[in-house]
C-alpha cells in the first residue's frame, strides 16, 4: 500500500492520525458528549456527515476561494451544512437533539472540520477529500464511542441506556463528570501513543539554530553541539 493511496487516506484517520487521540483536535465535543454512548454516537455521526459534505464542497471550490479569505469561506460552508444536519436531527431524532443541545451547533467551530478543510480539502481533489472526511469522521466517531463506553459502563453501570445488572452496584460516578472525562481521555491518548509507538507526530530533527533557548542552553547531549565539539 503506497503512502498516498486512496485507501491509506481513508485509513489514516482511524488510528494513525486519529483526530481526537493523536491530533488532539475537537476536545470540546469529545469531553462534553461522551458521558453516554448514545450522545457520543450521535455526535460522531453528525460530525461525520458535516465533515464529508464540507470536505467535498471545499475541495470543489478550492481553486475559486481566494487564499486570504479562505477561513471565512470555510466557516460559511461548514455552518451551512451544520444547519442542515441540525434541522434533520431536530425533525427526526428529537431525543438526540435534546441530548446534544448546543454542541450540535458547535460542530461549526469543531477544529477537526476546520482543520481538515485547512490541511487537506483545500489542497486535494474531491475524491481524496471525501475519503479523508470519511476516515477522519469514522476516527472521531470511533474514539468518542470507545470513550463513552468506558465512561458509561464504569460510571453509571449501563451501556447505551441499557442497565448492566452486575455493574450497577459498582459504579464510579466520577467518570461521568467532566474531570472523569479528562482522566479517561488522557489514559486513551497514552494508550494510543504506546500502541502506535509515537509514530505520529514524527519527531523533528532539532537543531540549535531554530531553538529559542540556544543562547542559554548548556545541554551536553544536544544534537548539533555534540557533532561540532
Amino acid at each position: 500500500m503506497s503512502k498516498n493511496s486512496n485507501l491509506s487516506v481513508l485509513l489514516n484517520g482511524i488510528i494513525k492520525e486519529n483526530p481526537v487521540l493523536v491530533l488532539i483536535l475537537g476536545t470540546c465535543p469529545t469531553l462534553a458528549t461522551t458521558g453516554t454512548v448514545d450522545g457520543a454516537l450521535g455526535m460522531g455521526l453528525a460530525a461525520l456527515a458535516v465533515l464529508v459534505c464540507s470536505n467535498v464542497f471545499i475541495s470543489l471550490l478550492r481553486n475559486v476561494i481566494p487564499e486570504t479569505m479562505r477561513i471565512p469561506c470555510y466557516i460559511v460552508i461548514i455552518a451551512g451544512f451544520v444547519t442542515v444536519v441540525k434541522m434533520i436531527v431536530q425533525a427526526y431524532l428529537p431525543d438526540l437533539y435534546a441530548t446534544l443541545g448546543v454542541y450540535l451547533d458547535l460542530i461549526t467551530v469543531n477544529c477537526i472540520i476546520l482543520g481538515r478543510a485547512e490541511m487537506f480539502a483545500g489542497k486535494n481533489p474531491v475524491i481524496r477529500s471525501a475519503l479523508d472526511g470519511v476516515g477522519m469522521g469514522l476516527g472521531f466517531t470511533l474514539s468518542l464511542v470507545v470513550m463513552a463506553t468506558i465512561r458509561e459502563v464504569f460510571g453509571s453501570g449501563s451501556f447505551a441506556g441499557y442497565e448492566i445488572p452486575f455493574m450497577q452496584e459498582y459504579t464510579i460516578a466520577f467518570l461521568t463528570k467532566a474531570p472523569g472525562g479528562l482522566l479517561v481521555y488522557g489514559l486513551l491518548i497514552a494508550l494510543i501513543y504506546v500502541v502506535t509507538k509515537g509514530a505520529f507526530p514524527k519527531k523533528k530533527s532539532f537543531s540549535c539554530e531554530g531553538c529559542p533557548n540556544a543562547s542559554n542552553c548548556y545541554t551536553p547531549n544536544c544534537a548539533e553541539k555534540g557533532v561540532e565539539n
Binding site: 459498582y170 464510579i172 460516578a173 466520577f174 467518570l175 474531570p179 482522566l183 489514559l187 497514552a190
Partner: protein
C-alpha cells in the same frame, strides 16, 4: 534519597540509607496509628489496611511486569502508599472501592508518571481525593465500636473533649483519629531523621494560629481543630513525602505555610468539612515552583547585587 546529596560537591559520603530503609522506618512509624485504628474501629479496620497494602503492592508488581520495567516493589514505597491510603479511609468503606483507590494511586498517579521519584503528587493523598470525589463514600459516618459521634467532629456543633481527641475514640478515618499514636510515629521519624521538623511544625502551627483567630481567641477550640480530622497524619506523614515536597528548609516552611492556610480556608469557608488532603494536593502541585524560588545560590557565583 534527599536531593541534597545530589547538589553537594565531592567528596561523596554515602550515609548508608536506602529508599527501602526509609520506607521501612515510615511503616514502623505508622504501626501505632494502625494499632490504634484497629482498637478503636474493630477488626474490619485491619482488613481495610491489608486489602489496600496488598492491592498497592500487587498493582505495582503487575505494572512493572506488563511494561517490562525494573521491579520496584522491594523498596516498600507501594506498601507505604497502601498503608497511608487505608489509614485515610473510613472503616465501613466497601472493599472494592479500596481496590479501585489503590489502582488509581499506584497505576495512574505513580507508575504512569514514571514510578517512584517521578510522581507529581502524593499517590495516597490523590487517591483519597479521587475516592472522595468519585464515591462520596468518605462522607459516610464511621463510628467507633463503643462511642456515638458524627462522621468527623469538624462537621459537628459539639466538639468531643480534648482527651477524646487526643486518644482518638471518635468518628473519622481509621488512622487519623488518634493524635497520640500519630505523635509517637511522628517523633520516631524525627528521631530517625527521616523527616525534618519544618513541615509538621509549621503546618500544624499555621492551622493552630488561624483557628485561634477564627474561634475567637479560644485556645481550647483551636487545639481541638488541630487534633480533629486528618491534620496530624497529614502533617507528619503525607506532606513530608520526599518526592512531592520541597528539599530546601525555606521551601519546606513555605510549603507547610501554604498547606496550613488552605486547610483552614477550606475548613472555615469551603463546602467540605475537612481540607487537609486538598491543601496538601494543591501544595504538591506548587512544589516545583517553591523549589525554584528557594534554590540556594551556588557558592562562588556572587551574592545579591
Amino acid at each position: 534519597m534527599s536531593s541534597l546529596t545530589k547538589l553537594m560537591i565531592s567528596p561523596h559520603i554515602h550515609c548508608g540509607r536506602s529508599t527501602g530503609g526509609i520506607m521501612r522506618d515510615v511503616l514502623i512509624a505508622l504501626l501505632p496509628a494502625t494499632l490504634a485504628g484497629t482498637l478503636i474501629f474493630g477488626l474490619r479496620a485491619l482488613l481495610v489496611v491489608l486489602v489496600c497494602v496488598a492491592a498497592c503492592v500487587l498493582f505495582e508488581l503487575l505494572f512493572n511486569l506488563i511494561t517490562k520495567q525494573a521491579q520496584t516493589v522491594g523498596d516498600l514505597s507501594a506498601a507505604v502508599t497502601g498503608l497511608l491510603l487505608a489509614l485515610n479511609l473510613p472503616v465501613n468503606i466497601p472493599i472494592w472501592q479500596c481496590v479501585v483507590g489503590s489502582l488509581f494511586a499506584i497505576v495512574v498517579v505513580k507508575c504512569l508518571f514514571g514510578g517512584i521519584g517521578n510522581n507529581l503528587v502524593n499517590p495516597a493523598i490523590t487517591a483519597r481525593v479521587f475516592m472522595l470525589v468519585a464515591f462520596g463514600s468518605l462522607a459516610i459516618p464511621a463510628f467507633p465500636v463503643d462511642a456515638v459521634a458524627s462522621a468527623t467532629p469538624l462537621a459537628a456543633e459539639q466538639m468531643p473533649s480534648l482527651m477524646t481527641l487526643f486518644l482518638g475514640n471518635y468518628g473519622g478515618a481509621i488512622g487519623e483519629t488518634s493524635t497520640l499514636a500519630l505523635l509517637i510515629g511522628g517523633i520516631y521519624l524525627l528521631v530517625r531523621r527521616v523527616i525534618t521538623w519544618h513541615i509538621p511544625v509549621v503546618f500544624i502551627g499555621t492551622v493552630f494560629v488561624f483557628s485561634f483567630f477564627m474561634e475567637g481567641f479560644d485556645a481550647v477550640r483551636a487545639l481541638s481543630m488541630v487534633m480533629a480530622g486528618g491534620l496530624v497524619i497529614g502533617a507528619f506523614f503525607m506532606a513530608t513525602d520526599y518526592v512531592t515536597s520541597p528539599a530546601t528548609p525555606w521551601g519546606k516552611v513555605l510549603f507547610a505555610l501554604g498547606a496550613g492556610l488552605f486547610t483552614c480556608l477550606i475548613r472555615y469557608f469551603g463546602n467540605y468539612p475537612e481540607g487537609v488532603s486538598f491543601a496538601i494536593l494543591f501544595m504538591n502541585i506548587l512544589t516545583p515552583y517553591i523549589g525554584r524560588w528557594t534554590r540556594r545560590k551556588v557558592f562562588g557565583t556572587g551574592g545579591d547585587k
